[in-house]
Amino acid sequence: MNKKQRKMLIRIIISALLVAALMLFPVSNSYLEFALYMAAYLIIGYDILLKAWKGILNKQVFDENFLMAVATVGALAIAIYERLSFAEAAAGHGEGGYTEAVAVMLFYQIGEWFQSYAVGKSRRNISELMDIRPDYANIEKDGELEKVDPDEVEIGSVIVVKPGEKIPIDGVIVEGNSTLNTSALTGESLPRDAGTGDEVISGCINMTGLLRIRTTKEFGESTVSKILDLVENSSSKKSRSENFISKFARYYTPAVCYSALALALLPPIVRLIMGISPEWGDWIYRALTFLVISCPCALVISIPLSFFAGIGGASNAGVLVKGSNYLETLSQTKYVVFDKTGTMTQGVFEVAGVHHNSIEEDKLLEYAALAESYSSHPISKSLQKAYGKAIDKSRVSDVEEISGNGVTAKVDGVSVAAGNTKLMKRIGVEYADCHSVGTVVHMAVDGVYAGHILISDIIKPHAKEAIKELKRAGVSKTVMLTGDAKNVGEQVAKELGIGEVYTELLPADKVSLVERLLEQKNGKEKLAFVGDGINDAPVLSRADIGIAMGALGSDAAIEAADIILMDDDPLKIAKAIKISRKCLRIVYENIVFAIGIKLICLVLGALGIANMWLAIFADVGVMVIAVLNAIRALFVKKL
């Protein structure tokens, strides 16, 4: 609670106690009674009256302050008028009139107070969720640690991060091993191990060991600053629903005010002309009820709050949304277009299998890794990685590289040939064809065929599940675009269950293909493009909505995309869509609920069925329910 809220709460309590006391112990002296009710009224409502007056001076007549001021002053006036005209008979009635006026103001203020409290609370909650800002960096000086502002740390300095602290600046570990908690950045709860030589990004929490890190970026350029900047500026781009609501509020309030005026004047005048009693008091009371119902607060507050909570919940799950308009577009996504390499596959070459081997798998890999150990080709690297042990080059001799074919060498004195089919033909060895897609390294040991090793780009572990989830989330069409060879692309698409695939594309082809798909779909359906941000920035910006994944450390992706998945798990695409759907559902619920209840109450009020108490519910009650509903958008864990 801030100072303003505390002050308001005290005013609410005093005024409520005063009214309750007056209702329990009626004061017989009518002047004293009036004075006491007026005191309660002014305590709770003086600022509203003041604001309404200032609004009139500034030619800003129709706002909720004005509505409330007119409604309550009107109710007081009716009460006084009724007391004066039916002095003895209606003593009870008049008292009711006073209570009503004070109560309307009281409940209105309680509503306002609740709203400001709820908004402040969720504002704090959401910023806590995203609380990754490091406050300081430790620098070692003369053997002692000194805390400095991360802004002052120069590139290349060595900073010390103790267990439990946040890594303040991007860098490379020069000393120490530890486990890092990246959940604030990626939403991934599984901790990650890091040791000397590993690159680490700011915002992770160091959990176990002391780390010395050489910084590679300034604080302002570090991941954590970039993300904070992005999060703080998100929800500045307004969605269509938000714009609709602010426009609605602009016309709605004056419209209701004029209707209320008409309701107060027309029926009595018509009745006068018809020669029946005009019943001014009754119609003016109805008009005032109308005014109380009409406050647009519930709508105006709950819509941006829903979006804000949705964006906050998403960022907690590792999905950064750059604005509420993107959340809205995402919820209408029917077409999802993927890039292959780096998005659905890991983009690194790995040994995917060893087939037709006549000797042990490990032995074959060992031979291959050793024979290829003098090559710097990615294939050779992946062989060495699969082998997993240090390469002792002294075991290798007589290395002969045959360009475009492969390599022959002697390993531990045994002659080994590793290469493609051409090499096998060249040395006259019968080989077995591979039916899988990828690069195949055939092996001959001692002149005898020993099997082949399949090296391919590995499909991400969750990729297949991700496509299934997307379909379950209502995505009607999935398309994959790749610059890779036809058989590779088609194989991956088939394995993942992606409907359409276009292969051997240049970056420019991807743009024109996306444009063609954009023409195909009908108006309301939206197209999302998912890429890893590397050389697909033009496509990311051309699609209705661009989703970049694995954005940690890739500035280009953060700039170009509208939605950013912090880690590179494709399952998050479906999650992001579900979050957006939930958020938008809440937004529509609130719009329909708030406008619906208000309209019903307005009709009831005009017919004279609804009194001020119902009116106050229509205003404050609806607002409270809408705000609570909006906060639901924050909870996205189970989606």
Binding site: K4, K51, Q60, E112, E232, S235, S246, C297, P304
Partner: protein, 72 residues
């Protein structure tokens, strides 16, 4: 040129009104008020002095919502 200012305002509708008022101020190309993060992002027209323009923006905002503040 774009600049971001911290603001203080109590209700969402008032924030919308501030946005309208800021947009209509001379020298302002576009303005967005974000009620949830309590920020105002103002895009100035070329060759305008943000400091002078912001004084007018503040004045206009005070007109529509007396109880608001822009931290310049």
């Amino acid at each position: 040129m774009k600049k971001t200012y911290k603001i203080d305002v109590d209700c969402a509708n008032c924030a919308n009104k501030m946005e309208e008022a800021a947009k209509k101020t001379a020298g302002v190309k576009d303005a967005t008020v974000n009620f949830m993060t309590l920020k105002m992002i103002v895009e100035f027209e070329d060759g305008q002095d943000p400091k002078a323009v912001m004084q007018d923006v503040l004045k206009n905002c005070k007109k529509v919502e007396d109880d608001c503040e822009i931290y310049l």
